[in-house]
Symmetry: C2
Subunit: 308 residues, 2 copies
C-alpha cells in the first residue's frame, strides 16, 4: 500500500501520475482539509475535490481545479443577487458541494461523504480527509486575519503574512483509517504541496506526525520549491512568514524528523550536502510536471525510490 499526503493542485499532478502507475486498490490519499470553507451555505473541500476530480478523470487540467468544461451559470446569477462571487464554483462542481453539505447535515462524517462522492464518480482509490473535525488555516496579515481561500483566491496571495496557524487542530483527531494507513503502508509519499498550508495542517493533526516518525514505511518527499520560489502558488511566501528558509532545504528541515528521501530539483543540487546533514537522502531530478508524460515520469521515479 502506497499512502500519499497531499494538498490540492501541486499534489494532484503527482497523484495523477501515480494513479496511472499503481493499482487503485494500492493507493490511499490523505488530504488536507484546513482550506475547507463555507460559501453560500455550502461546505467546500477544495483539496479533496481537486484530488477526487483528478482521480475521476474530471479535473480541469488547464485551471488545476474544478471540472473540465464546467460552466458558471449559478455563480454568475448569485453575483447578480448580490453574493460574493470571488470563489469560482462551477455548475457541476456545485453538485458536489450541495451533496456534501446535505450529507453532512444528515449526520454523515466528512470521511463518509468523501468516500460516497468518490465512489459515485468512479474513483477506486481511497481518499481520506486528514480529519473529520473542523480545522481551518488562518493567516494574520498586516491589518486583518483571513482564511487561506480569502488570502489565496480573493487577495491573490499579495498581502504580507505575519503568522499562519491552524484553528481547531489541537482538538482534532485523524479521520478513521488515517493512522492505520500510515502504520501499514509500504511507502509514504509527501507530495510537492505547500508545506505550510497543505502538508503542515496534516502534520499538525495530533498523532499523524508521530505515526510518520514511527512507521516502518519509507517516506519519500517531493519538493514544491525550486530555488527560492514555489513551482506554483505562495509556498515560499508562507514559509518565510513561518520563519523558515524559502528553499528545498527549508522544506527538508520541516520534514526532517520523518523524511527518508527528498526529491529535489536539478537546480537545487547545491543543497544536497546540507540536506544530507539532516539525515535525509536526496535525489535531484526534473520535478516540473507540465503534462501527463512528466507526471508519470516523476511518479515512476518516486515509486522506484519508495521500493528501496
Amino acid at each position: 500500500m502506497i499512502v500519499v499526503l497531499t494538498g490540492g493542485t501541486g499534489g494532484a499532478k503527482l497523484i495523477e501520475g501515480l494513479a496511472v502507475e499503481i493499482d487503485p486498490a494500492e493507493l490511499t490519499v490523505i488530504c488536507n482539509t484546513a482550506d475547507d470553507c463555507v460559501l453560500h451555505g455550502l461546505h467546500i473541500s477544495p483539496d479533496i475535490d481537486t484530488i477526487t476530480y483528478t482521480l475521476a478523470g474530471l479535473i480541469d487540467d488547464a485551471r488545476g481545479w474544478g471540472i473540465k468544461g464546467d460552466t458558471f451559470t449559478t455563480l454568475e446569477q448569485l453575483g447578480r443577487l448580490g453574493a460574493d462571487a470571488w470563489f469560482k464554483l462551477g455548475d457541476k462542481d456545485l453538485a458536489t458541494h450541495l451533496m456534501r453539505t446535505r450529507l453532512l447535515s444528515d449526520g454523515l462524517t466528512l470521511s463518509q461523504v468523501t468516500s460516497q462522492i468518490g465512489r459515485t464518480l468512479g474513483v477506486n482509490e481511497a481518499i481520506l480527509p486528514m480529519t473529520d473535525a473542523r480545522v481551518e488555516t488562518r493567516l494574520n496579515t498586516a491589518n486583518k486575519e483571513v482564511s487561506f481561500q480569502e488570502y489565496f483566491v480573493k487577495e491573490h496571495w499579495q498581502p504580507e503574512v505575519t503568522r499562519v496557524f491552524y484553528a481547531g487542530v489541537e482538538e482534532s483527531n485523524p479521520a478513521p483509517g488515517v493512522l492505520d494507513a500510515l502504520g501499514s503502508a509500504s511507502a509514504i509519499i509527501i507530495c510537492p504541496s505547500n508545506p505550510v498550508t497543505s502538508i503542515g495542517p496534516i502534520l499538525a493533526v495530533p498523532g499523524i506526525r508521530d505515526a510518520l516518525k514511527k512507521t516502518s514505511a519509507i517516506v519519500v518527499g517531493v519538493s514544491p520549491i525550486i530555488g527560492a520560489s514555489a513551482i506554483t502558488g505562495p509556498a515560499h511566501k508562507l514559509m518565510s512568514a513561518n520563519g523558515w528558509e524559502a528553499s528545498a532545504l527549508g522544506v527538508a528541515r520541516a520534514y526532517a524528523d520523518f523524511l527518508d528521501v527528498f526529491v529535489i530539483a536539478h537546480e537545487d543540487q547545491s543543497l544536497r550536502a546540507q540536506i544530507a546533514d539532516l539525515n535525509v537522502k536526496t535525489v535531484a531530478t526534473n520535478i516540473r510536471m507540465d503534462d501527463l508524460v512528466s507526471k508519470r515520469r516523476l511518479a515512476r521515479e518516486v515509486l522506484a525510490l519508495a521500493k528501496k
Copy 2:
C-alpha cells in the same frame, strides 16, 4: 392599493397582466408558501419564485416556472451523484435557492429574503409570503402521505387523494404587512389558482380569512375551473378530495363568505343563478390566458370590476 392572493402558475398569468396595467407601487401580492420544500438542503419557495420571476420579466413562459433560457447542469450532476432529481432546478434558479437558504440560516425571515431577492432582480411590486412560519400542504393518498410537490411534480398528480391538510397552519401568523395590506386595500383579487393548495393555505393562516371578511375593499375572484376541470393542474381532483363540487360553483362556495364578485368562464353561464344565491355577483367572460394579450385583457376586466 390592489392586493392579490395567488399561488404559482395560474395566478402568475393574471399577475403578469395586472403588472402591465398598474403602477408597481400600487400592487401587493400575497403568495402561498405551503408548497415550500427543502430539496438538496435548499429552501425552495415555488410560488414566490414564480411570481418573482414573472414580475422581474424572467419567467419561462413556456414552462410556467423557472427562468427562461435556464440550463440544468447542476441538477444533472446531482443525479449522477445519486440525488433525487425529479424536481427541476435550473442553474440560475438555483442561485435564488442558495441565496434564500443562506439568508434564512443567517436569521432573516422569509419576508425579508423575498423582498431582498425581488429587489435585486428589479421587482418593484411588493411580494409578501402569506406567513414567515413553516406551513406545509400534505396529501393523504391510498398508501402514503406526500407533500404537494411530491404529488404534483414527482407523481404527476395521478394518485387518488383522500385528504388535504396544511401542517403547521394553526400555529402560523400572517407575515408582516399581510393584514395591513388586506385592511387598507381598495380592491383584493383572488387569482385563478388552485383553491385547495394555493388559495386554501393562505385563507387558513389565522387572521387572513377574517381580514377578508372585514375588509371594506371589493373582493374579486377569478375561477380556475371551466366546466368540471381546472384550466391547468389538479384543482378539480383536490376539490373532490375535499368533498367540494369540482366546478366554478364549488370555488364560489369556498370563497362565498368574503367574495363580492366572481369572474367565471362563458362556458359556466348556467352556474350564475346558483352563485348569485351565495350572494356573490358573477361576470362571465373568457378566462383563458394563453398570451400576454389575453392576460392583459382579463386583468383590465378584473380591474374594472375592482373599481366598482
